[in-house]
Symmetry: C2
Subunit: 251 residues, 2 copies
Amino acid sequence: MQKKKRTANIGNRREDGGLIKDVVKLVAGYPKIAITVDCVIFGFDENELKVLLIRSDLERFKDKWSLLGDFAVNNNEDLDEAAYRILKERTGMDDVYLEQVKTFGNPARHPGGRVLTIAYCSLLNIQHHQLKIHANELHWHSLSTIKEMAFDHKLILDACYQWLQKRIQEHPLGFNLLPDKFSLRELQNLYEAILGVELDRRNFRKKFASMDLLIDTGEMEQDVPHRPGKLYQFDFKKYQKQKRKWIGIDF
Amino acid sequence: MQKKKRTANIGNRREDGGLIKDVVKLVAGYPKIAITVDCVIFGFDENELKVLLIRSDLERFKDKWSLLGDFAVNNNEDLDEAAYRILKERTGMDDVYLEQVKTFGNPARHPGGRVLTIAYCSLLNIQHHQLKIHANELHWHSLSTIKEMAFDHKLILDACYQWLQKRIQEHPLGFNLLPDKFSLRELQNLYEAILGVELDRRNFRKKFASMDLLIDTGEMEQDVPHRPGKLYQFDFKKYQKQKRKWIGIDF
DNA sequence: GCAAAAGTGTTGTCCTTACACCCATGC
DNA sequence: GCATGGGTGTAAGGACAACACTTTTGC
C-alpha cells in the first residue's frame, strides 16, 4: 500500500512499456532469502505412528526436538531432489516416499533471520529402512508424546499429520509404512492409528476385498501367539491403471 | 553423496557436539535465493472458468501470458500477506479468497537464475471485484484458451486447476466465485464448468437442499428471459459450526 | 483347553442415480 | 402461445454400518 512506488521497480514490469532484456540482472536485483527443506518422516511401529526427530543443536532450542532439515536449493537441484538428498544425508535412508506438503514463511519463525521452509512429508517402513546415521540423537518418537519443538516445527508436524490423515483416505500411501507383505490386521491397525478411530474389522476387510487391490501372497504370519493371518501385497500396478476420478460434492 | 563433507558444515549441526549460539551468523552463512509469490486468480463468467493473466514483460517471453506475481518476502510479511499484497497491487482488488497451493523450485524455471515460486490460488467474483489496474493487458482468459505461458506458469496453472477441482468437491470454496446472492442454476453451472461434467439438475438441487446450508433470500432473479429462479446465500456461519470430519477409505 | 486373533454374511439404512412432467416468465 | 429454464418426487441399486459365531494357532 505504502509501497506502491517500490513495486513499479520491483515487479517484473516497467513503466515505460519496454521489455526487459537482461533477466539475470533483473533477478540479481531482488532480495534473496535462505531456504530450508524440512522432512516430517513418519513410521509405524508397535501399532503407533512415529516420527523421526533429532535434537536441535541450536543453543536457543537446547533440549528441543527438531525435524530433519537442511538449508537447500544451493545446488542445481529441484525441491524434490533436495528433500531426497536431505533424507539420505541425515538418515542414510534411500527410496522413501516423499511429497511436498506446504511452505512456511512466517518472518519470525527462525531466530537467525528470515528463513523459508518447504515442508515435505515422508513415509517409510521402520523395519526396512534402518537408520544408518545417529547424529543428534536421531530417533523415532510416538506422535502423541511430542509437545514442544524447535522453531515452528510443531506447527509443521501438525500440518503434515493432518495432511496424512486426509491423504491416506484417498490414496494408497499407507502401504509405504508397512512391510512389503502385511496382514489385514496390520493394515487396519495402521488406519486406526493414523485416523485415531476404531474401525469394524469385517467392514474394513470387505472394503479392501471389494477394491481387489491386495494380492494374496499365499504366505502366513510367523511366530504370532494366535492364529496366523494371511499376508498380502498391495497391487500398485493395478491401482495405477484403474485410478478413477471422483465426482461428488461433500462438505 | 559426494557432498558428505559439505553437509557437516552446511547443516545446522556441528561435529564437535557443541551448540550453536550465533544463529544470525548461521543463517547469514547460507546461500540465499530469490522468491516470488504467484497468484492463480480464478473467476467465473458467462458459465466459464476464467483466469486473470498479464502479458509478460520479459523480452524472452514476449507475447506470452504470465500469472500475477512479484518478488516477495522482502518485507516483514508472512507468505499469505505477501500474496494479498501482490493481489492488491496488481489488480486493486481486496478481500479475496486466497490459499497456498504448491511451491515450485525447478532450477531452470526462471531464465534469470534460480527463483523459487510459491503458488497461491485465488477465487473471486468478477462482478464484485472490478479491476482497478490495467497494466500489461491484465485481463480475464477462458481457461480452455490458454496454451503456452511464460516461465513454467502453465504448469502452475494446471496444478492450481487440479487443486481447485478437488477442493471444490470437499469445501464450499465455489461461492467465492459467485455473487453474494445466486441461483441454483448458477451454482450448478459453476460446478459443471470446474469439474467438466454434466450434473443432473434434480439431484444437484436435492444435494444442496439436504445440506441445508443455503439461505433462501426471498428474492428472485431479475431480467431473465424465462421463469426467474430463487436467489440464495451460502450460510458460512452454519457451515463453520457443523464441519464434520470425514472418515472413509476410497482410492 | 484356553487365550487371542483370524475369518466370514446378513440385514437395515442411507445415499446416489436415473428419469418426466407441470409452472412461471419474457417475448 | 411458445420458448426457456424453474421447480419438484419416486423407485431401484449400491454403499455403508451394525452386529456374533466358528476356526486356527501357541502356550
